[in-house]
């Protein structure tokens, strides 16, 4: 990110950011309205900066938006916003459409990713009949099936109970992809390499989880 700024409706949301994100696991924290979700949306071009520029592996998130979105997968807080088709298999196939794969290869990839997340044989299950945790895993699978190199997650555990949070985090921990995760659950960041703290649109701390979380607690005190 080079001198990135973001305004929405004439109001500053993020102020001048100069950042290079190279670590495998990066956490993003901050109070509600601090700008962390907007920051996440800049990473795959869902939001365009109003100043400066954002690049991912050398690709500009505005000019090369399609290529960037293929590289940067995005998991939303609410899986119901993300799952487009009525059944699990159909929704996973939706992500593969741009690749124009043979039906057999498409089915193979769907089968493998469902097995990976403990949802083997769920191709024909109706999404609205799944539990919240299963739905979030389907949303995650729907993004990972596109084989992105970076995964951005915006508060993915907010709607989950403890068991499903653990299930989802185990799935995220096992990923080889780089991860940027926005969260309010500070416990989830224990093994992360780097944490960014936002406050009123400004990056106020950047470093190891323990140090940044300490700063966050002091900020809220």
């Amino acid at each position: 990110m080079e001198t990135v700024a973001l305004e929405r409706g004439g109001r500053p949301v993020l102020a001048r950011l100069d950042l290079c994100l190279t670590e495998r696991r990066i956490g993003v924290i901050g109070a509600n309205g601090s700008g962390k979700s907007s920051f996440a949306r800049l990473l795959n071009g869902l939001l365009a900066p109003t100043g400066g520029r954002v690049t991912v592996d050398g690709l500009d998130t505005v000019k090369d938006a399609k290529a960037v979105r293929r590289r940067v997968g995005f998991v939303f807080q609410n899986p119901d916003s993300q799952i487009v088709y009525p059944t699990v298999g159909e929704d996973l196939a939706f992500g593969l459409k741009p690749l124009k794969l043979e039906k057999a290869e498409e089915a193979r990839r769907i089968r493998l990713i469902l097995e990976r997340y403990g949802l083997a044989g769920a191709e024909d299950r109706l999404v609205h009949e799944l539990s919240g945790g299963e739905r979030q895993l389907v949303a995650l699978a729907g993004v990972l099936i596109m084989r992105p190199s970076i995964l951005v997650l915006d508060e993915p555990t907010t709607l989950l109970d403890l068991r499903n949070t653990r299930r989802l985090m185990a799935a995220i921990d096992a990923l080889s992809e780089r991860v940027v995760m926005v969260t309010h659950d500070l416990d989830l960041l224990a093994g992360f390499d780097r944490v960014l703290l936002f406050d009123e649109g400004r990056l106020v701390a950047d470093g190891a989880p323990a140090t940044v979380i300490e700063r966050y607690r002091a900020l809220l005190a």
Partner: protein, 197 residues
């Protein structure tokens, strides 16, 4: 038709091409409206029920297809009974029952992705006029996907208003429902963008 959704299976009806089933449905419906006697309509009903059995649709699921329309069918029957006679009332209701069950049979035996793909193929000529058939297909898929989601949202809003003693106020139900639906629509559009759709 929309409420039924897909029932996995390997019956001959499941294996028929989605486009053929979708095209046969309006033809069948048109024929039904040309028939004005009870006996052929009853035969059509028997045929549709037999096809449900062939597709291994459980009887409770067959009845569930009719439940949402039961009130309207009753009103239609009573009004025809009052305006015309028993025979005409029976013909009218039988027609709708057969049509609803036939439509349900199509969705129960066809994956929505296959229906959408068939629709996209059928609409491909519109591409010459600048329309994008994939957008029509996506709209149908989203409709099928979000009916149960919106039903849950509506129930949550109703519950919240009931807790506040406002469950009889249409405004108190409609405003939050509309606001949440619009917010959901924004989020879905964003997610489709993020998934490269």
């Amino acid at each position: 038709m929309i409420g039924s959704l897909y029932l996995p299976g390997r019956s001959p009806l499941h294996r028929l091409p989605a486009g053929l089933k979708a095209a046969a449905l309006p033809v069948f419906g048109t024929v039904l409206f040309l028939v004005e006697r009870i006996v052929p309509l009853a035969a059509a009903l028997a045929l549709v029920i037999a096809l449900h059995a062939l597709a291994r649709v459980p009887p409770r699921l067959v009845l569930r297809q009719l439940r949402p329309a039961a009130g309207i069918l009753l009103v239609l029957f009573l009004s025809q009974l009052w305006l015309a006679d028993l025979s005409e009332a029976t013909v009218l209701v039988l027609r709708f029952v057969v049509l609803i069950l036939a439509a349900a049979l199509v969705t129960l035996t066809t994956r929505s992705a296959d229906l959408v793909a068939a629709l996209e193929r059928a609409l491909r000529p519109l591409g010459m006029l600048g329309a994008d058939p994939r957008k029509f297909g996506l709209a149908i898929a989203l409709t099928l996907r979000f009916i149960p989601v919106l039903a849950v949202v509506a129930e949550e809003v109703r519950e919240a208003q009931r807790a506040r003693g406002r469950d009889r106020s249409i405004l108190a139900l409609a405003v939050p429902l509309i606001v949440r639906t619009l917010k959901l629509a924004d989020e879905v559009a964003e997610a489709i963008d993020a998934r490269g759709g």
